[in-house]
């Protein structure tokens, strides 16, 4: 093909942008697993709620952007606290029950979503439309925005976990809850906070990714599947791992499609996942 190098460059660019989106979506799941060792299956549905929230606030109620953001932030925070208190706390330590419970929660939210939001595809209008052309490579503006948000949130998360006292407390209860409690850490409150932040990340991801695609109540399923894929490859609980894996998967899908066709590229991603599981089951940067 005559346009090969250009096509590859375009593929790479789109792959990186898409990869950052994947990272943004998977971030909340990583946090909750990293600190609480809970695989939050409801993660995808919170993402859906965030996107739907953005739709209803911006399009139906015509709230200004700042207010929309505030609503989504507060709502997801509260939801995270409630779910942690009612469900996760009483099941602490029983990982099987926790996983199944989170599956149950995700089913409930999804079913209610279909009933409440209906079947029509919805759309949140883009904040920026149009394409930026860099050296002949086309970069859609709204994806650049979402990628920027992703980068900011990853940075904020790093700061929270590694540079604040709360983050220190979170890492403490992750490593050794007993000792942390003995040293005066209010483990219950920290756990609740970690869960809430995870929910907020998921909802924000939904809100910012929403304008790029269309919305329907089933969108949570794709989000959770992709998030799991990223997290298996990158390592459960590792933020850096999530970032690397997200970029890897995004680029692999895109460049793979240019070289081998979309069908094969899609399969390739699964193959990578299986290879990682066999060779390094904890993920590229995870701890077993």
């Amino acid at each position: 093909m005559e346009v090969y190098p250009h096509l590859l460059a375009q593929g790479l660019a789109i792959g990186v942008l898409t990869g950052i989106l994947y990272v943004l979506v998977a971030l909340g799941l990583t946090l909750i697993y990293g600190i609480l060792h809970i695989v939050n299956f409801a993660h995808g549905e919170i993402y859906m709620l965030g996107a739907m929230g953005a739709f209803y606030c911006l399009v139906v109620f015509k709230l200004p952007f700042a207010a929309t953001l505030a609503v989504i932030l507060v709502a997801s925070l509260l939801l995270g606290l409630v779910v942690e208190r009612l469900v996760f706390r009483s099941l602490r330590g029983q990982w099987l029950q926790l996983v199944v419970a989170s599956v149950g929660i995700s089913l409930i939210i999804q079913s209610l979503g279909w009933i409440a939001f209906g079947i029509q595809e919805k759309n949140v209008p883009s904040f920026f439309t149009g394409v930026v052309s860099v050296l002949g490579v086309r970069l859609p503006k709204e994806r650049l925005l979402a990628a920027a948000v992703g980068v900011v949130l990853v940075a904020l998360l790093y700061v929270l976990v590694y540079r604040t006292k709360t983050g220190l407390a979170m890492r403490a209860i992750e490593e050794d809850e007993e000792t942390a409690r003995m040293l005066g850490v209010d483990a219950d409150r920290v756990a609740a906070l970690a869960c809430a932040v995870g929910f907020v990340l998921a909802a924000l991801a939904g809100a910012f990714v929403a304008p790029i695609y269309s919305l329907n109540p089933g969108m949570g399923l794709e989000a959770i599947l992709m998030s799991f894929l990223i997290i298996i490859v990158g390592g459960l609980g590792s933020i850096t791992g999530t970032v690397l894996a997200g970029l890897l998967v995004g680029v692999l899908q895109s460049v793979g499609a240019v070289l081998l066709g979309a069908e094969i590229a899609y399969g390739l991603v699964f193959v990578v996942m299986i290879v990682v599981l066999i060779v390094r089951p904890a993920g590229l940067l995870g701890r077993a």
Partner: protein, 322 residues
């Protein structure tokens, strides 16, 4: 009391069907098939492994038999066993790798396996591609194909009873109790220090579990007379998990109870799919939060020993009861 009740149930399953209309037979077939799937899943769940990909092993068994029957005109009776055998072989090969993973890693690896299985079946025309394989024949007895619901019901019943008896014996033997001891990494280490070869036990259990999945998967496919990558999906795996959890991890009868109740409940909700999901999920959460032993633990309220029988020790460890 327990033996009497059981005998009554089995007798009913054998004698009543000729009086039932085809829809009831359809439901009975579906319930029996799912009971075996759930019971097979339970074998490894009580070992501490949650599988999100059992549908993959079921699919292997189903496709194997369908291919043999449609491409090589192999008798479905042989196909059933071939399906079970194929699933068992894959389980043995993959078990070596995946059983070393604990907790969620295992679950996700089996999930990945199931997705790959369906993706492979979808990608190649040899397996029928996305359209799957149609015109899968029913098995024949004395020259006549068992095409009616009633005839095939008895096939399903026999296979189900044989499977359930085998799985029962697997659990209530020394082997079965040893599996309980392998529930967590710590207890497994303890067991190993006592001379138990944990890996061998776990692999055997996994192989047996998948054998019955493949076997019943083949039977299932010959009932539908069809198989495609959209028949044995991730949703089936999660449904099975819900049946076992709701029924209760504490006893052999738990998964059976859970499957029968939820499938029965599901049949009433045929008008819209999300109501069924909603009800299932609500029931699941109620049970997890308030009835940790599952519905089977309610039998303790009924009488001493209840449905589990007097001699059966409490599988409380598996249930995670407090």
């Amino acid at each position: 009391m327990k033996r009497g009740l059981l005998a009554l149930v089995v007798a009913a399953l054998v004698i009543l069907p000729p009086f039932g209309q085809p829809y009831v037979l359809h439901v009975a077939i579906v319930v029996l098939v799912n009971v075996v799937y759930a019971q097979a899943l339970y074998v490894i769940m009580r070992m501490g492994y949650l599988s999100f990909g059992h549908a993959g092993y079921i699919a292997l068994g189903g496709y194997a038999s369908a291919l043999l029957a449609t491409k090589l005109a192999v008798s479905p009776w042989v196909g059933f066993l071939a399906g079970g055998a194929l699933a068992a072989v894959f389980a043995w090969a993959l078990g070596a790798v995946t059983l070393k993973l604990r907790g969620i890693y295992f679950s996700l690896s089996v999930f990945a396996f199931a997705e790959v299985v369906n993706a492979v079946f979808r990608a190649f025309e040899f397996f029928g591609g996305p359209a799957g394989i149609a015109a899968v024949p029913r098995p024949a007895l004395f020259g006549a194909r068992l095409n009616t619901h009633l005839q095939f019901y008895y096939v399903v019943l026999v296979v189900a009873l044989v499977s359930l008896v085998f799985l029962y014996r697997l659990q209530w033997t020394r082997f079965g109790f040893t599996l309980l001891a392998l529930r967590t990494r710590e207890t497994e280490a303890l067991a190993e220090s006592l001379g138990i070869n944990a890996a061998r036990h776990k692999t055997f259990a996994f192989v047996v579990s998948c054998f019955f999945c493949g076997l019943m998967g083949a039977v299932h496919v010959h009932y539908l007379r069809f198989v495609s990558p959209f028949v044995f999906t991730f949703f089936l795996s999660t449904d099975l998990m819900v049946y076992v959890m709701v029924g209760g991890l504490g006893s052999y009868w738990g998964p059976i109870l859970g499957t029968v109740l939820l499938t029965g409940l599901g049949e009433q909700l045929f008008a819209a799919g999300y109501y069924k999901s909603l009800v299932y999920a609500v029931v699941l959460l109620i049970v997890i939060l308030a009835l940790p032993g599952g519905l089977i633990s309610l039998s303790r309220l009924i009488g001493r020993g209840g449905l589990r029988g007097r001699a059966a020790p409490v599988d409380a460890i598996a249930a995670g009861e407090r």
